[in-house]
């Protein structure tokens, strides 16, 4: 427990350091390893429908309930996802999903979203804009 508190304290500090960096959001996706696909089962914690990158936070299944292992998935923009059929209701906190993603190269708990299957309905959500580049789609 003490260990967990310590690591949480570090998390806040790390967060503050990250904020202080001149980092922002409209970035290249090269920090993700597109040669690797990782698959995990988890529960949606948060679905941030924001520009420039939509973010999906997923608690990996099997973790401690009070300290879940959270993975952050980045997607393209709300506008781009709208054009491949998504809405800001596509995921809701508590949704159980099977998630596939290209992981961050630095080993941190993040990745580029590839595909998710909603385990309760079987619905599959994909975000590849290149799959919808042809005009005249229904």
């Amino acid at each position: 427990m003490g260990m967990r508190e310590k690591s949480r304290g570090f998390g806040v500090l790390a967060g503050l350091i990250a904020i202080a960096l001149p980092a922002a959001a409209h970035h290249s996706f090269a920090m993700f390893d597109f040669a690797n696909t990782v698959s995990i089962d988890g529960t949606v914690k948060e679905f941030r429908w924001t520009n420039p990158h939509v973010v999906l936070l997923v608690a990996k299944a099997g973790g401690a309930p009070d300290a879940p292992e959270v993975w952050s998935m980045e997607l393209t923009s709300p506008g781009n996802l709208t054009r491949v059929g998504w809405t800001r209701q596509s995921f809701k906190p508590g949704d159980r999903i099977k998630l596939e993603f290209n992981p961050l190269r630095d080993g941190k708990h993040g990745g580029a979203f590839k595909q998710a299957t909603l385990l309760d309905t079987g619905e599959v959500l994909r975000s590849n804009l290149r799959e919808a580049e042809k005009p005249g789609l229904k």
Binding site: A23, A24, A25, H26, R105, L137
Partner: protein, 280 residues
């Protein structure tokens, strides 16, 4: 009799116009005409004859990527070395990220590499392009016959004048900030360094594909004008609109302050700009 009066009036008007032109030519200090005169009904009617560019235009990303190889950029030797270094950094997954500060991509990069959609508005004397991202990007293209200002204030999108040649909108852009990138991806590109001039010929390639033929002159980083094209497509059967695109919003998450107000709070991110869970 009535016709006669009209003829006289017309002749008098013509004389006034000619006299006015002569006066304007003779006197460089003549007062300027109104910059944005009230549009006349015939100008509104003329809009109906323009091609139909309505709807939401989405860039063809696969085509953007293919064009970089097909229409290689004539970089100067120095710029080419920097581009090679940035390309290598991107390939090994350590990108600098040209737009992580959320400043506008500007011209010509918006037209070259964006993944985000835009729309056209036709109004008398102007074509306006509104897009998602960069805090809602915007280009104003004056089609009222005006010239560029002699010394335009530099901006991310520059000063654009345009005219129609049939169904093609020809756009001439100068006055772009030297800091604005000529980019071939979100991680690879160099600032134009000044003197940028972009000529575009925008036209329908087929019913739902719009094509922009660009000629980009940037004497400080290109050895000759770079000619390339980009394609954008629209989906008539799909129901979506342009949405708001505030780039900086991604730096924050939604929170509640001590007074119970809904506020934005900074979200932790890596140096590369991607959002991380709070414990990372």
């Amino acid at each position: 009799m009535r016709y006669r009066v009209l003829e006289i009036r017309a002749a008098a008007r013509a004389a006034i116009v000619v006299a006015g032109m002569a006066a304007a030519a003779a006197s460089p200090a003549a007062p300027q005409a109104t910059l944005n005169p009230p549009p006349q009904p015939k100008e509104w009617a003329a809009l109906a004859k323009l091609p139909d560019w309505s709807g939401v235009w989405t860039p063809n990303v696969s085509d953007q990527e293919a064009r970089i190889t097909r229409d290689p950029v004539p970089w100067t030797q120095k710029a080419a070395a920097q581009v090679a270094s940035l390309t290598a950094a991107e390939e090994r997954g350590d990108p600098k990220g040209l737009f992580v500060d959320c400043l506008p991509e500007g011209m010509p990069t918006w037209m070259l590499i964006t993944h985000n959609a835009f729309e056209f508005l036709f109004t008398p004397g102007r074509v306006t392009i509104l897009g998602e991202m960069d805090g809602n990007r915007l280009r104003r293209i004056y089609t009222d016959g005006r010239a560029h200002p002699a010394d335009p204030d530099p901006t991310f999108h520059g000063h654009s004048i345009g005219h129609w040649e049939g169904g093609t909108l020809v756009v001439d852009t100068i006055g772009v900030l030297p800091e604005a990138y000529i980019a071939i991806s979100e991680a690879v590109g160099v600032p134009n360094d000044g003197g940028l001039h972009v000529v575009e010929r925008i036209h329908l390639d087929s019913a739902d594909v719009l094509r922009d033929d660009l000629e980009i002159t940037a004497p400080r980083v290109l050895t000759r004008p770079w000619k390339t094209s980009r394609l954008y497509f629209r989906q008539r059967a799909r129901k979506y609109d342009i949405v708001e695109g505030v780039c900086l919003q991604g730096n924050f998450s939604e929170g509640v302050d001590a007074d119970g107000h809904a506020v934005f709070v900074p979200a932790p991110q890596s140096e590369g700009g991607n959002v991380l869970p709070r414990d990372q």
